[in-house]
Symmetry: C2
């Protein structure tokens, strides 16, 4: 839940006068997004989302994020569309912060997704990968191998507070991934954070993807491995092969993966499990006790990492050979 910056009606009205939107009739801070402040606006025309970018987002990355949403929407992907101001700019300023006005996407995120939803997610992820082709701004993935090393250096001294033996487990894991990380797989624009709360459904139909603020250029199959981690494990930590199968089949129905991509899936999934383990570990160690932010358990991702380490062949994820 996040509203870091309150805004006055006057400054909002002035901000909106730069856009061609209806009259403002209501605005409410909403409990979505962790990095930014988000408001749901009602106007005499369509509802809108107003996002104020807080300091955890690099201002220099905003043209990538906003341009990407516009590019993807142009290609027919259902995602929030930044509205241009009357002068054509996508980015404005409000209350001293970079701010954008974005179309409101109807739909709800699923608290309890089933295999059929995983199929839709795989399909939408592949559609996003295809739609991302031709987008010409680049943004390297700050949370890949080099970023993991930096995060681990900041946390390793206290990691054993979370589980004893962590240091002895993670040091060689990072070394292994650095030595074996695939290099020649197809790359492009990835979402990099396609968790449940970033996929909207209306009934059983996927209505759109949101939150592109971790998007970057990286291996496409790595994005698939993030979704395997995010969508295909049960609350008890077990891997649900029916969901994995559905997610991979949905993906391949739009963009078939190469042999090399499929073979790399276990190591990619180890990497993506490590990535979420490390950011959660860092947040766990640095968020003050008593803060109302819900701390996410890093050990959930340690268990997923161990599962992927045990995988001998991609078929174990539920892949159906074509």
């Amino acid at each position: 839940m996040a509203v870091y910056t309150d805004i006055t009606e006057d400054e909002l009205r002035q901000f909106l006068s730069q856009y061609d939107v209806g009259e403002l009739t209501s605005y409410k801070g909403i409990a979505e997004g962790v990095e930014n402040s988000n408001f749901l606006l009602h106007t005499t025309k369509d509802p809108l989302i107003l996002t104020l970018y807080e300091k955890r987002v690099e201002k220099s990355d905003l043209p990538f994020f906003l341009g990407l949403m516009q590019h993807l929407a142009d290609k027919g992907l259902s995602c929030p569309l930044p509205l241009p101001r009357k002068d054509g700019e996508l980015l404005g300023e409000l209350s001293g912060r970079p701010a954008a006005l974005i179309s409101f996407l109807e739909g709800m995120w699923l608290r309890k997704p089933e295999a059929k939803h995983c199929w839709e997610v795989g399909k939408a992820l592949a559609a996003m990968h295809v739609a991302g082709e031709g987008f010409d701004i680049k943004r390297p993935n700050a949370l890949s191998l080099e970023g993991w090393k930096v995060l681990w250096e900041k946390s390793e001294g206290r990691a054993d507070e979370v589980e004893s033996g962590l240091k002895d487990e993670i040091d060689p894991e990072i070394a292994f991934l650095a030595a074996h990380w695939p290099k020649d797989l197809p790359s492009g624009v990835i979402h990099a954070d396609l968790f449940q709360d970033n996929v909207f459904f209306l009934g059983d139909e996927l209505s759109g993807l949101i939150d592109f603020y971790f998007a970057c250029n990286d291996l496409l199959a790595y994005d698939v491995s993030i979704c395997l981690n995010a969508w295909c494990f049960e609350k008890d930590g077990s891997y649900n092969v029916t969901k994995g199968k559905a997610l991979l089949a949905g993906y391949q129905s739009v963009r078939p993966m190469s042999e090399a991509e499929l073979e790399a899936m276990p190591i990619l999934a180890r990497g993506s499990a490590l990535r979420f383990f490390l950011t959660r570990l860092y947040d766990w160690l640095t968020t003050p006790a008593g803060a109302l932010v819900v701390k996410k358990d890093p050990l959930e991702y340690l268990r997923k990492l161990r599962f992927h380490r045990s995988i001998g062949h991609v078929a174990e994820y539920g892949l159906v050979e074509e």
Copy 2:
């Protein structure tokens, strides 16, 4: 900002099936209200507010709150209207909590109200007092003299942590109020918390009052004194007599106060300043450090209390004799 309870789409859909509303297309937790969890729902018909009552609200009080909103709306006051279920009940259950579906009121609360807005607030408060007549459920004010004593007993031991000398100031203040509190003034249903964020405007026009969860039966003029405290002081602690005059004149344009009510205004304003001082003091002393809840400064209300103690005659609030 408050969303204490998350809800799944399935349980929400089941809950909504008990009502005659459109198809759900979106729901977002909103950062409003301190005591309850609130969601803004979009449907294929009108937007709605869903409120889940958390444990700080007494379930036995809910028929009073919901019945009052319905009574006031029936009398033509612009306020949120609880929607009855198909079986006629105003109160349901969701995620193990009492829950109600309430009409969405367009409008925005003013971060920087001017005197003309204070006039509107006074007028709307009087209209609410008049509309409240004939509402037959009663709820005593838990935050009047007896409640203040209880709050003070819980805080006095540590009060000097907040400002030294507090104990020597508040003990005699409570004794004075207990000895001189007026008893024979007109009473009825009061809002008891009509702060800026509970009054919506569209442009300069007041579009409605919200948040009746402190409403109760008490002296009507006491409610006016709460508004004087909430609306007529500047950020630097100074009393703005132009705003005070506007608020009192707006009120009297609908419901003229008696001589006795006007003469009691200084002591009523001392009482209402003490009431907010005491709840803020208690929260200040008991909210854990680092919690993301914004702690409101109790000393703001101590300063207001001292101001009212200095008032010799109601004319000093800006009252224009009729």
